[in-house]
Point group: C2
Chain length 160, copies 2
DNA sequence: TTAATAATGAAACACTGTTGCATTTATTCC
DNA sequence: GGAATAAATGCAACAGTGTTTCATTATTAA
């Protein structure tokens, strides 16, 4: 099954999807990227859910629009364009999340990973502090990953 | 080929290895772990080189002592015993490094990753700062990954 | 509408990590 | 030192993750 962004059927689909968030196509246009079904769907999914998603979550949401190979290429394209970012937690999980507008130019990310439910929360407002690095080293980017229990899982298991 | 830690051949091997670092067997003993060829070799390698190593680097150093399945199990055992820690950089690379004595009880790690040569430097002395996390969240561990250019690669490519 | 360019998806592959099970090894206790 | 026991090993087979090539199809610009 092929997916035609310019077909009538897809126009209706797109119109329905973007009733709440109208800027997906604009995002792609502003980055000089072609508007393809997978790109639109992936960005929309991340907008709609508002959280970071794994590939398998994205897969099940996308249905037969999903193709593994295209997915990896779409992800790479959107990463390069700084539309999304990837969060890798050890070798446990990989998640994808939309960049906030302040992410776009900053290279700092703070994430919270819940060891119980494996949810990832982007902590955009937390400022990344300065770390002392060896002489001659040049810092370009800083990622912080805080692990622990999220609000829900902390309630179920209050004491440590 | 099997590797007998208690064989004469291995005794000589071990004696040679530990002429500079005499505490590998003690480390295992203190954790209640059996002293097997792979464990001793892996810890020794990390001690000898003093840097973090990838699986393939460990493989080529270990020669025919290396076995993939045993490697993963050895790594898991040493991780559980807090003898080593794993550093995952996006989906670029996974490295293993010895814990410093101050790592053993602290759950904070600061690492520097060079985007050019992919070397990882443990910054043990850098204090991990406090980050504000949402109410109800419980922080247990904090990992910081600073990306940029290391001293060597920074010289070759001074300006940004 | 058409031409040019880019994205897609199929096949095939390489790498990463795991599980079950029979065999081998390290340790403990004598 | 030697046997009993509990653990580690390594083989086979598998599941998951990510990439490359190439012919086909879709998007965009003119």
């Amino acid at each position: 099954m092929k997916h035609f962004v310019n077909s009538d059927k897809f126009d209706i689909f797109v119109a329905f999807i973007f009733c709440r968030e109208m800027n997906v196509v604009d995002i792609l246009k502003s980055k000089g990227l072609k508007k393809t079904a997978q790109r639109i769907m992936l960005i929309h999914l991340l907008q709609k859910t508002g959280v970071s998603l794994t590939e398998s979550e994205i897969k099940s949401e996308m249905g037969d629009l999903y193709d593994r190979i295209t997915f990896y290429r779409t992800v790479q394209t959107l990463l390069d364009a700084r539309i999304i970012h990837r969060i890798t937690v050890d070798n446990i999980t990989v998640k994808y999340a939309l960049n906030h507008s302040d992410h776009e130019h900053s290279e700092n990310h703070v994430h919270f990973f819940c060891r119980q439910c494996h949810s990832v929360t982007c902590l955009a407002d937390s400022a990344v502090r300065e770390y002392r690095i060896p002489k001659g080293f040049q810092s370009e980017e800083c990622e912080v990953l805080i692990k622990g229990l999220c609000g829900r899982c902390g309630k179920k298991q209050p004491a440590l």
